[in-house]
């Protein structure tokens, strides 16, 4: 059905469309700017004044330098390790405890629930956690990056709600066939709530990819640093010196800028490439999170 529009509505539609286009430009231009700047010549870029639409001069040397930077490469490798191991453990444990909390007729269900929900309201804080980590001797280990934040309480509750939505009859018939609780969980329950599980994988995975604070608190050894911590040094503290040495001919400050732009591109492109494919899962995740009740 086509609805006739009043002149006022026509103007609104045009205005709204322009506003949305403007919004998209604001969202995308920073990335575009960084991309164009990363291919620019440091001296030309420094001299340029105005809105950047294409590279000023052209070089790809900065990409070579970034890809040769061993910190960035080990950072990438470490992050992949933390993301995979962390996400697998997080999802596994969240599914397990979520299943337990969805069972009926468990005497300890309520105490368990209280034990977990209390942590949403109160926590010991940063310093006691830090001291505890050094007390149990995890300081400086990869476990110190993976273990804190292993289980998200909101996620446990989302998981529990998902399990509660599975009809009892499925479980009962499996039990008659002689399946035990663990078989029921992995063979029957998990496949049924796979959409929620995949949302968990995405949430935990992205969280791991982005995290740097725990690594900063607990790690001293650079060879274990995740990518984000390396990026922090390069981008926030301008730690570009070791990459500048082999790029002799220009002004250091200007080159440092170009290297930073290149680093941003190199560390962000993988996310931007996978993002369109994962977007709808995330959107689903927001909905699941919102109606958890």
């Amino acid at each position: 059905m086509r609805i006739r529009q009043t002149p006022g509505e026509c103007i609104f539609t045009v205005f709204n469309t322009l506003l949305m286009v403007f919004l998209m430009v604001i969202m995308l231009y920073p990335f575009y700017y960084v991309l164009m700047a990363s291919f620019s010549m440091p001296s030309d870029m420094a001299a340029y004044r105005g809105i950047l639409l294409w590279p000023q001069g052209f070089q790809a040397e900065s990409y070579k330098l970034v890809f040769q930077n061993s910190d960035i490469l080990t950072g990438y490798a470490n992050t992949i390790f933390y993301v995979i191991v962390g996400t697998v453990l997080s999802v596994l444990f969240t599914v397990m405890i979520g299943y337990v909390l969805s069972r009926k007729n468990l005497m300890l269900k309520k105490p368990l629930m209280i034990l977990i929900v209390v942590t949403m309201f109160f926590g010991g804080g940063m310093i006691p956690t830090y001291l505890m980590m050094s007390q149990i001797g995890l300081m400086g280990t990869r476990a110190a990056v993976i273990l804190p934040g292993l289980i998200g309480t909101t996620n446990v509750i989302i998981m529990r709600t998902a399990f509660q939505g599975v009809p009892d009859s499925l479980e009962e018939s499996a039990r008659i066939d002689g399946a035990n609780d663990i078989t029921i969980l992995w063979k029957i329950m998990v496949p049924l709530i796979m959409p929620t599980v995949s949302v968990m994988i995405l949430f935990y995975g992205v969280g791991r990819w982005n995290s740097w604070f725990d690594a900063m608190l607990y790690l001293r050894d650079r060879s274990k640093f995740p990518l984000q911590l390396i990026l922090r040094e390069i981008l926030v503290y301008s730690g570009t010196d070791d990459m500048l040495i082999s790029w002799g001919e220009f002004n250091g400050q200007d080159m440092s800028e170009i290297i930073k732009y290149t680093t941003i591109i190199v560390s962000t492109v993988p996310i931007i490439c996978v993002y369109p494919f994962l977007q709808k899962h995330f959107v689903k995740g927001v909905m699941i999170g919102a109606i958890k009740g």
Binding site: M20, R49, V100, T263
Partner: protein, 314 residues
């Protein structure tokens, strides 16, 4: 009487024993989470008593002598107390004031887009910044804020003198909140867009019959339709008023802007981790947790009152 209690207790334990043995596999599944919660949540909660002690790592938590409320008094009477409390609340309140309505407005405007392909494009593009890591966002911001950065290009375009944005105390909150809106506005609109789809379309038809234009429809149908969602989101947000995204502040602030940027958690980090004033910073952290606790309970209470028990955290 005593006997009766004993019998009951006996009954309880034997029932518990039976329950444990019958469901041992289930309890086994809960074990990793229970261990995790004890170590990473309850141990630090116990460790928070160092706020009342003169903690020294050599003596341990138990061995350190009691200090009573010394560190709390020290904090409350210090210059920093007012500063960081004010900064925490201001950043939080301004965030609610500006960052909260933005996604609602965006959702309303996106709802008015007729072409679904264009709408999808807008959605995809506006969600994108949400997926960029905080470190990269802050790295970009620092760069754009610098003397030769993108922001100064615009300053010069309008005939101003370039300056370093992040060195200006007057601009820190604007940069923090503005970039927050830029990053999260699209993502935040998802929930409202979802709420919009549940509005009965016959309402719109009826309104059109009555001669209501699109603006009036938005005002009288769409907005009331998503009002429950807005209220819930606002209440939940209020409960988080003491939780400022401190990672971003830590990446963006510098000693020049501490005056406006230093919040409770960044202060705790500097005092505790960098200066090793464990008891003092634990006291500050505990103070924060306590206020947080009150805010969450209050928010939840309000939420329950408003929605008749439908939307509360527990």
């Amino acid at each position: 009487m005593k006997q009766a209690t004993a019998v009951r207790r006996q009954g309880f334990f034997s029932r518990l024993g039976k329950d444990l043995s019958r469901n041992k596999l289930i309890y086994l599944l809960a074990l990793p989470a229970v261990i995790y919660y004890f170590i990473y949540h309850y141990w630090p909660m116990y460790g928070a008593i160092i706020a009342f002690k003169n903690f020294s790592p050599a003596l341990g938590i138990m061995g350190s002598p009691w200090a009573g409320f010394k560190y709390f008094e020290q904090f409350f009477s210090s210059y920093y107390f007012v500063r960081i409390l004010k900064n925490t609340l201001l950043i939080s309140v301004y965030s609610i004031l500006w960052s909260f309505p933005a996604p609602i407005l965006l959702a309303l405007l996106m709802n008015e887009i007729r072409s679904s392909a264009f709408k999808r494009t807008v959605q995809t593009v506006t969600y994108l910044p949400h997926f960029i890591s905080t470190v990269v966002i802050c790295g970009m911001l620092i760069d754009f804020c610098s003397m030769k950065g993108l922001f100064n290009v615009f300053v010069e375009l309008f005939g101003g003198e370039p300056f370093n944005f992040l060195m200006e105390t007057g601009l820190f909150r604007t940069i923090y909140i503005g970039s927050g809106i830029w990053q999260e506005v699209g993502w935040g609109s998802i929930i409202y867009l979802a709420a919009l789809t549940s509005i009965d379309s016959s309402l719109y038809e009826a309104a059109r019959m009555d001669g209501a234009g699109r603006f009036k429809q938005m005002l009288h149908i769409t907005l009331p339709g998503i009002m429950p969602t807005i209220v819930i989101m606002l209440i939940l947000r209020m409960g988080q008023v003491m939780n400022v995204g401190f990672e971003k502040i830590m990446l963006l602030y510098n000693p020049t802007t501490y005056e406006v940027a230093d919040v409770i958690s960044t202060f705790v980090y500097r005092k505790g981790i960098l200066e090793a004033n464990y008891s003092y910073s634990a006291a500050v952290g505990l103070f924060n947790s306590a206020i947080n606790f009150i805010m969450i309970i209050a928010a939840n209470w309000v939420s329950r009152k408003c929605t008749g028990g439908e939307n509360s955290l527990w």
